[in-house]
């Protein structure tokens, strides 16, 4: 899908490094500097000038830690001022660069800006709460947990779209994986078989997507949308008729154990998120790295990206375009299916209707925000998991921000991203276009 304005550059293959702004690319616009400036001003007014006077308290250690760190306590007003001034400086730097040298700000500027903005926002939220205290360790650990299915979903999207097939069916793949994992794990009393079955189920959903969009050249978006409905209907139907007839037998999956790596898991903050996960959680880290290396450092990855960027050229070189797409889409489905198993094998102990709750669409957004890059998608998914987790926490500690707006945040950020207000997300050039040899 082209999320950027149509560029007049015809058939320009860019199979080499990803997203390096080329000289002939679009002219440098005012969008990014102006957006940064507006955001920085908002931050200055709300987080700084109108900031709460209380102290925000962040607990860093959890009880089982190696060594206890004292809780960080920051004055909300002062830190809001300082952080928003940093934001203003960053925005000013971007503006000056554009005005003087007509250059884009370096890539670290938006990244640093995002981090500082999030920190300032967090301090503002906590400082304004009824109980201005929050466990940072818990917040981050919870964010990672919530992000797991989103990460798998966005990896599925990356695999499909890098090969040129739009995958709107991530939601269906997650849901199919969740259902099958619950069913198989209940019947066999073995969560690992459930995990395997989830991958197969996700792959099956993907095979339908691949057959219809590659073989029958049906519009990929239509197939994706319809597949989501189909999987939702199928799982809902089977849930009511099969699972609810005997929940003990069909819907009480064995849980995947949390594997606690001794010593390492006791490191404050990062210990629990890196070394105290379920198999699915560890698989997530492995999958992100493996897919990133495979896509950008191997011959296979180069071919996949060539197929997604310029299928004709790839075909000329002897790469089987449609076969590559077919296998990539199938693989993507399997990855998303594993992500779906997280719902029923780790997070919740049984399947319910629509258990994925739109996370497939958030995964789609994470993929775009991560610029079709596994690592980018991973961090974007973490950001969304963070927003999701923060939303439930703010309702508990009681803040001025309605929780619904927190829940809205990922979607708003994505709209900004695709509209090019915060950097440009360029999809693979042949994304969504069927390839017919001829």
């Amino acid at each position: 899908m082209s999320t950027t304005a149509t560029s007049p550059v015809e058939g320009k293959p860019q199979p080499e490094k990803n997203h390096r702004p080329t000289v002939s690319a679009k002219p440098v616009t005012w969008k990014l500097p102006v957006t940064l400036a507006v955001l920085a001003t908002i931050a200055f007014i709300f987080f700084g000038l109108l900031g709460p006077q209380a102290n925000a308290k962040f607990g860093v250690s959890s009880s089982g830690d190696f060594f206890q760190l004292p809780a960080i306590e920051v004055p909300a007003f002062l830190s809001g001022m300082v952080l928003s001034l940093i934001l203003l400086v960053l925005a000013g730097y971007a503006l000056v660069l554009k005005a003087r040298a007509n250059r884009r700000p370096p890539r670290w500027v938006p990244a640093v800006f995002t981090v500082v903005f999030v920190v300032a926002f967090l301090i503002w939220v906590v400082g304004g709460a009824r109980t201005p205290s929050i466990s940072l360790a818990g917040l981050i650990a919870g964010s990672v947990t919530l992000a797991v299915p989103i990460v798998f979903g966005s990896l599925s999207g990356v695999l499909c779209e890098r090969a040129g097939v739009v995958n709107i069916a991530i939601e269906g793949q997650l849901l199919g994986g969740a259902f099958t994992a619950a069913l198989v794990a209940s019947l066999t009393h073995n969560p690992y078989l459930g995990l395997l079955a989830a991958a197969v189920a996700g792959a099956l959903v993907s095979v339908v997507l691949a057959v219809f969009s590659i073989k029958y050249v049906v519009n990929q978006i239509i197939v994706g949308v319809v597949l989501n409905v189909l999987v939702s209907g199928l799982t809902g139907f089977l849930f009511t008729t099969v699972m609810q007839s005997d929940p003990e037998k069909y819907n009480s999956p064995a849980e995947l154990p949390i594997i606690d790596i001794p010593v390492l898991s006791s490191i404050p903050v990062i210990g629990p998120i890196l070394f105290k996960q379920s198999v699915v959680g560890y698989l997530m880290y492995v999958a992100v790295i493996v897919i990133w290396v495979a896509l950008f450092k191997t011959k296979w990855g180069l071919r996949v990206r060539a197929v997604g960027e310029h299928p004709q050229a790839a075909d000329t070189l002897g790469i089987k375009v449609n076969a590559t797409r077919f296998w990539n889409v199938t693989l993507g489905g399997a990855v998303a299916g594993i992500g779906g198993s997280f719902f029923t094998l780790v997070a919740i102990d049984s399947f319910t209707k629509e258990i994925s709750g739109g996370r497939g669409f958030i995964a789609l957004a994470a993929m775009i925000l991560g610029r079709w890059n596994p690592i980018g998608a991973f961090f974007a998914a973490l950001l969304f998991g963070f927003a999701d987790n923060l939303q439930s926490i703010v309702t508990i500690i009681g803040t001025p921000v309605p929780s619904q707006f927190m829940a809205m945040l990922p979607y708003v950020v994505t709209v900004f991203a695709v509209a090019g207000l915060v950097g440009r997300s360029r999809p693979p050039a042949a994304d969504g276009i069927p390839y017919i040899k001829g």
């Binding site: 899908m1 082209s2 304005a5 149509t6 560029s7 007049p8 550059v9 015809e10 058939g11 709107i168 099956l204 095979v207 339908v208 057959v211 219809f212 073989k215 029958y216 050249v217 049906v218 519009n219 978006i221 197939v223 949308v225 319809v226 597949l227 409905v229 189909l230 939702s232 209907g233 809902g236 139907f237 009511t240 008729t241 310029h310 299928p311 004709q312 669409f361 789609l364 957004a365 309605p402 619904q404 829940a407 809205m408 979607y411 708003v412 994505t414 709209v415 695709v418 509209a419 090019g420 207000l421 050039a429 042949a430 994304d431 969504g432 276009i433 069927p434 017919i436 040899k437 001829g438």
Partner: protein
């Protein structure tokens, strides 16, 4: 997707295999090679008379023999037959699914080889019982109380079809302009918010009140759709992503509002708005025994309007030209940005009409389920209707019947409503891939590579889809 800029020649799909939206009247992509592009440029530079559509059809087929063949093709393997077969196939697969999970079928399968007839009868009755109940719940119930009671299901079907039709029209209209409006859900919600607020917060005289509710709702939907159009036209943001995100933004906004004093019913613990004034509600068409309201007549009017807009107006011609080929449309002097914004605005307005039908007609209150799944169903409705206004109308009636009947089916036979989603999505999948349907029913008059190849894969595909 149509707005992509990569060379399209190799990518241009067979018109037969394209989804309805793009394949209906206009052959899809031109630009066989550079020569074609040059011709279109030349004519535009010269007289600017030749429009985009002829240019695009030019490259599709040479005059003479191919046209004759396409007429023949239409009769034998035309869309009509494929549509009917697709519905049939989906119903069969749905029936098999019902039978598979049926208890009687399960027990008879135990002695399948001893008495196979028992098993087959059980399969048949499980499937047909459900479908008969579906029909009785959707069209005609012979056990009803008098004639009025017997036709009550039909009235319920029409009531449920109302938002499906109008929202479906919004999706279909956008399809014709080459845009995927996945955002009907959000547009219905925004319309519902505005319309219900006018309905319960303002107290106006009869007539004016309802009119204002209607206008507010349509504006709500139109603005929500129009923003997408503006984003698409100004920044190139892909409308699929933006509309999906806008759906969620609208939903959370609605949940927020239902939490505030402005919208929450005084004294209520649940997120529900006050009931709209009687003066703000659609009058009932056949009296108070049915729920059918004025919204249905407005849906018919909307269908007539869209039909006129697409087929008889300059604006509709521009929409279709942009949908067929935005580049050629631009060359022909059509303002593509303006068309994009306008079509999304109108599409949003139509979806808004569905929102009004919900809050002023069927539900009379605003809850966070105001849009139910109408927005997503509207996509399948538009696809089934092949994006033509009256096709969408018919598809809306069919899916309305499914919805209405499914409730009765669940009560009578215990078959869950979700089967409707399965059947609905299967229908659309099959319709989108005519070669598959023809292969399954052995209707392949033409030697088509895709179709014959499809035959070999047919078993695997249906297996996967089911």
């Amino acid at each position: 997707m149509s707005e992509n800029t990569e060379p399209r020649s190799a990518a241009a799909p067979d018109p037969d295999q394209l989804p309805a939206s793009q394949a209906t009247d206009v052959e899809p992509e031109p630009l066989e090679d550079d020569a074609d592009f040059v011709t279109s440029l030349d004519t535009a530079g010269g007289a600017h008379q030749p429009s985009a559509v002829p240019v695009s059809t030019q490259s599709g087929a040479l005059p003479g023999a191919p046209e004759e063949e396409s007429l023949l093709r239409k009769i034998f393997t035309g869309n009509g037959i494929v549509t009917i077969l697709a519905v049939l196939l989906a119903l069969i697969l749905g029936g098999l699914l019902i039978a598979m999970t049926d208890k009687v079928v399960g027990t008879t399968a135990g002695y399948l080889f001893a008495r196979p007839s028992d098993f087959l009868i059980a399969v048949w009755s499980a499937a047909t019982d459900s479908y008969v109940a579906l029909f009785q719940g959707a069209v005609f119930n012979p056990r009803g109380n008098g004639v009025a009671g017997q036709f009550a299901p039909l009235m319920e079907t029409l009531t449920i079809a109302t938002p499906l039709i109008t929202a479906g029209l919004g999706v279909a209209l956008a399809f014709r302009a080459g845009l995927f409006n996945i955002g009907a859900q959000g547009q219905i919600i925004m319309a519902g918010i505005l319309a219900s607020w006018v309905g319960f917060a303002l107290h106006l005289p009869l007539g004016i009140h309802l009119l204002l509710v209607l206008v507010a709702g349509v504006i709500g939907g139109a603005v929500w759709g129009g923003i997408v159009g503006v984003l698409k036209a100004r920044t190139g943001a892909h409308e699929v992503i933006v509309t999906i995100m806008f759906n969620y933004i609208a939903l959370y906004f609605l949940r927020y509002l239902l939490d505030t004093d402005l919208f929450q019913r005084p004294g209520a613990d649940t997120p529900i708005s006050p009931i709209v004034d009687p003066s703000a509600a659609y009058p009932l068409i056949f009296g108070s025994q049915y729920r059918l309201h004025l919204g249905f007549l407005l849906a018919i009017a909307a269908t007539v309007f869209v039909s006129w807009l697409l087929n008889r107006s300059t604006l509709g011609f521009e929409f279709r030209a942009v949908g067929a080929n935005p580049k050629a449309a631009l060359t022909a002097g059509i303002n593509v940005s303006r068309a994009t914004i306008l079509v999304m605005t109108i599409a949003g307005g139509l979806a808004g009409l569905a929102g009004v039908a919900q809050v002023a007609g069927t539900e009379k209150v605003l809850t966070d389920g105001v849009a139910a799944t109408y927005g997503f169903d509207a996509i399948t409705v538009a696809l089934l209707g092949r994006s033509s206004p009256w096709g969408t109308f018919a598809a809306g009636l069919l899916f309305g019947a499914f919805r209405a009947g499914a409730v009765q089916m669940q009560i009578q036979t215990g078959t869950p409503i979700d089967i409707v989603l399965v059947v609905q999505s299967l229908i659309v999948l099959f319709i989108a891939a005519p070669p598959l349907v023809r292969a399954i029913f052995g209707l392949n008059p033409r030697k088509k590579k895709a179709a014959t190849a499809g035959k070999t894969k047919q078993a695997a595909t249906t297996g996967g889809a089911a």
